[in-house]
Amino acid sequence: MSIRGRLAIVVVPFLVVVGLIVWSVATFLTPGTPGGVMNFTNTQAAGQPVNLTVQSVGAIGFGPHPTWVSYLVKDPHTHQWVQDTTWKLPADTVVHMTVLQYDTGSPLRNQQWGQVVGTLTGTASLNGHPYSVYDSNTGNGVGHTFAVPALGLSVPMIGVNANAQVCGSGPCHTSSPHNTITFSFKTPGPGSYSWQCFVPCGLGYLYGNGGPMSTQNYMGGFLEVVR
């Protein structure tokens, strides 16, 4: 066989395999990355607190994975709910965060996430009542957490009663049963800080941490902090 023929036997299958790998990785990563960056740097005067509102829903209701659990963020300009988990925030600024929790809860795999840490007051507010720790083995359990490990921030999102008329798909309206959780934290200096839910809520996936827990724009994202 000619050298050209031998080369073809080696190179062509190699390129096919590499192409398949690239395609597989790209396919795996792209369904969850339809959005861009939600900009909160121009919503208030310099130095003033930022108001950031999100909702956590048991099923997002649209997109390539409508049954996946997800966070949605309220666009500060259009006030529409958007599937976007990368938020641009000003540095060294107080963020007043409101989470509308529409999902149900369960006991935590690690009760450590039942503790409120890293907020400005050391507490969060559940429907107007301050709390610093929640026993996930009681009541409605914890549905999700909002945690930014690099900031030492972690807040449990208390679940709604599973027997109620729970919102079936997002975006959910406040007429559906929900818990309103508020807390404040201060952004650090410029940088990219990952945030995520630490409750393994990816139903049907290994240890609950696949699917929406492993795909950008569902249960995790980034705080892009800029000066």
Partner: protein, 322 residues
Amino acid sequence: MNETHHLRRMTIIWIVLSVAADLLFWFLVGPHVPPGRMTDMATSNQFDFNVLFVIAIPVLIGVWIYLAYAIAVWSAKRGGPEPVGGEAARTNRTAQVAWITITSVVVIFLAGFGTVELVVNHGSGGGEGPNPVWSPSGAIKAETAALAGTGTWSPNSNQVLPVQVIAQQWKFTYRYPTFGGFETSQLVLPVNTTIAFNVTSLDVIHSFWAYQLSVKADANPQINDVAYTTTDQIGRFTVRCSELCGIWHGSMYNYGSVVTQQKFMQWAQSTEAANAANTKFLPPFAWTYVPDANGAAGGYYPDGSATPYSTAEIYGSKQPAS
């Protein structure tokens, strides 16, 4: 020039350069070789790395000298005859015996050296599994007391401090059984203290790698992987997961610190008090925990059958569901 003269010349060059390079490395570079000297394991591993370097440098220099010498002396001259090689080396008994002897001695020495370092240093900072073969003095007593809830630690007590490392996707948390079993995201250690890390996981396979402490132990679900180190210097260290564990694996890191024994005591007592409200909701301290078999959420439960150094693992009784 005959072959003996070539060999003698190369040997002299090799010895001179090797000794010089080894001395320069040992005294100038050696003290800065990772992972530093924050713990006895780090110091020991730095020494191990330096020994390996000192042995490897002459090998590297030998290859380079031979290559350079061959190019300079034996390369074909323009218009001259092609050099002929191979036969002399193939039948050269001295070269053959020397090669086999030297490489064998190096390999056998390193095997022995590595084994001694592993034994003397109680696993050399690596996870030894649930039944450590080599434990520092007082470790088993401290670990047994920790599980029974009777463990204590105080400054200047020279006691081993057990610390549990709990890995989960995608964060490490730490429990301190001698301080009421509180759990925290911070890893703070007292200086001049032997630490018994008990590493486990609540979900998939992770690996606890405290770089500057020179401690690295697999974090496997339902396995208690024990690793030891003794802190020697105050400072900050990095903890990373070194087992690819999912999409946020790259974010699974944090920073710990080694502080004075008095500062550690203050921190531990204040954290114990601050976390008391949450600690009472934690499961009783155990070496391993069995996550809910349903996978998607659920509490974690102490594995009641596991003793400090037992590999027996069964599912513990579940806590009441919500």
